[in-house]
Amino acid sequence: MATATLERSRPRAGGPSGSAWPRRRRRGGWLLLLAPIVAFDVLFFLTPLGKLVASSFTGGAYARVLADPLVTRSLVNTLTIALTSTVVTVVLGYVIALVLWRSGTVMRVILFAVVLLPFWTGILVKNFAWAVLLQDNGLVNDFLQNIGLTDAPIGLLHNRFAVIVGMVHCLLPYAVFPIFSSLTAIDGRLALAARSLGAGEVSVFRRITLPLSTPGISAAGLLVFIISTGFFITPVVMGGPGDMMIANEIDYYARQLTDFSGAAALAVILTVLVSVIAAVYQRVLKAGGHHETL
């Protein structure tokens, strides 16, 4: 169809080559650029998602999964693990963003690369590396024994601590960037003004930098929380049986129980839960008006 349109509007040699024809051809041509992506996303993105939602409403799936104690447990796990990792990630991300913000140009690019290396590395590679470090005869346990903190290896892997370590490592870049951009948005003269008015470095940070970077902190918090609720690999590789999250439950329903409608219901629950929490969070932030300090 696309070619036919182009054929028809192409000015023929010898024919009247008016200026109106090529113009229309160009305009239509640019809109044709959008057709493939729209068709692709409708076919391979919206249709599968629509089918998923539709199948979640068959066979009493919601009642079934919500009656499953493993599901309730994984929901609680998801919320507590996601919340803990979010808090830790935002705090560590703030430190990194602060250092980035204060670095000179060259140092900044180097540190950016350091932040982006884990971002570019796949989650399995990162989790594998942590498993190597945290295993009973791994580097961390060796270190703890060498400095005499413990006599025997302590179980650092396959527990909730390990899950959070692995998740924070994956999530950090997502926290650094929003915070960094809110820091760079602060007018540098504000700190000068504060110092001329008698503020030391600590006061400048507490009363100027920190309150003015709260938009970045809240954006980072939301982004990180949303991403963390969908973790699947890390609980399996680094967690114990009691650390399974909702994504693992979806996998279990789909591939072990082959209960597709149940799995679909869980997927919808996860999406709705995250959306509701995100909406409430933003509402609360707006109501609180995060510029009320001093």
């Binding site: 007018d187 003269r189 504000l190 000068l192 003004a193 504060a194 110092r195 001329s196 008015l197 008698g198 503020a199 030391g200 006061s203 009363r207 100027i208 309150p211 003015l212 510029h291 009320e292 300090t293 001093l294």
Partner: protein, 375 residues
């Protein structure tokens, strides 16, 4: 009300009280790598004096101010406040009020919280700091607006908050960095007068940085013209304007006629010069030495004359007249020079020359300045 803003400062020893509010720079130099931003600068601001650093961007005026405030460390030399060296003191211990370009008000704090900031940093009790902040806001005409955030205030109001914030803790002196750059022309002129009045009533020394020569003329006790990190000329506004030492200063401070001149004789007060094509002339001389000289005559000091007059003038042709409202700008070709003559519109009727007609122009000897041609 006034006394609460300018209550006697208690921070300096009484021995230096005589120099309270003085700022002295001794051979101050600032380099960034190979680039010299400020070169061997000597500058003294007397207590209560309003001194303007005037220069184009890159002249080192802002760097100089930043070194006084303590935000930039000078490479060598010494800075003194109240007669005491402050070279090793951080900004917060220099006790200077600074008003920044675009004011740098804290956007997350109300006007009152902005003004209170310095007092809170000085551990002033809450009730007292609030009272003093409100007094300072009254003083700048912002009574009742203390609860507003900066973004809820107009440009002029924001500037008043910035002023109140910089004054509330009785600083030794006030530093103003292009504080009016963000205001429109009318408001700017109004604020110029207001700041000047406030400064006089407080008797506080001011170091003012601007690239706007009108602003410098309007406000200063003394103008310090800077170029390439050095002071080119320093003096009262009228003197710097009427008697510039170089053609660069003359042009930077406004329109002027520059006529190349050859010195015939000079005694340090007055010089006799040969003005190519305009005969000889008698002009003011400040003894500046250089390779080439010129005479600067401001357009408003060039006058029409009824007839020929041997010295300080000549005959020529009126080539254009442009009415600028309050004044009329005439262009006259005299002896190969195109000169600008500016007269008040109200005076124009009397002379009434037509474009293309022959005219005689001249100037008073004390209104023409011998200066050095640079470059």
């Amino acid at each position: 009300m006034t006394t609460s803003v300018i209550a006697p400062a208690t921070h300096q020893p009484s021995t230096t009280a005589a120099r309270k509010g003085a700022i002295d720079l001794r051979q101050v130099r600032k380099t960034y790598g190979d680039v010299v931003a400020v070169d061997q600068l000597d500058l003294s601001i007397q207590p209560g004096e309003f001194v303007t650093l005037l220069g184009p961007s890159g002249s080192g005026k802002t760097t100089t101010m930043m070194m006084v405030a303590g935000f930039e460390e000078h490479t060598s030399g010494s800075v003194m406040i109240d007669g005491v060296p402050v070279d090793s003191l951080p900004p917060r211990e220099r006790n200077l009020g600074v008003v920044f370009q675009n004011y740098a008000l804290f956007p997350h704090m109300s006007a009152r919280e902005n003004v209170e900031f310095a007092l809170r940093m000085r551990k002033v009790p809450k009730a007292e700091s609030r009272r003093r902040a409100d007094d300072a806001l009254d003083r700048v005409g912002l009574s009742g607006l203390g609860g507003r955030k900066p973004r809820q205030l107009s440009g002029g109001q924001q500037q008043r908050v910035a002023l109140a914030r910089a004054l509330v803790f009785n600083p030794a002196a006030l530093l103003l960095d292009e504080p009016m750059a963000a205001l429109d022309k009318r408001l700017r002129e109004h604020m110029q007068e207001e700041i000047k009045t406030l400064q006089k009533s407080l008797g506080i020394s001011v170091l003012f940085v601007t690239h706007d020569q009108d602003e410098a003329m309007a406000m200063s006790d003394r103008i310090v013209v800077m170029k390439d990190g050095r002071i080119v000329q320093s003096g009262p506004p009228e003197e710097v304007y009427n008697h510039p030492v170089t053609d660069w200063v003359a042009s930077f401070l406004g329109d002027t006629n520059l006529i190349p001149a050859t010195v015939i004789s000079r005694d340090g007060e007055e010089a006799v010069v040969d003005l190519a094509g305009l005969g000889t002339g008698r002009v003011r001389d400040r003894g500046a030495q250089g390779e080439r000289y010129a005479v600067s005559i401001r357009p408003e000091h060039l006058k029409f004359r009824a007839g020929p007059d041997g010295e300080n003038g000549g005959a020529g042709e009126l080539t254009s007249s442009t009415n600028l409202g309050a004044t009329i700008r005439h262009r006259i070709t005299v002896g190969g020079h195109s000169l600008q003559l500016r007269e008040l519109s109200s005076d124009a009727g009397a002379s009434g020359h037509a474009v293309g007609s022959a005219v005689h122009v001249g100037w008073d000897a004390d209104k023409a300045q011998l200066l050095v041609l640079e470059g």
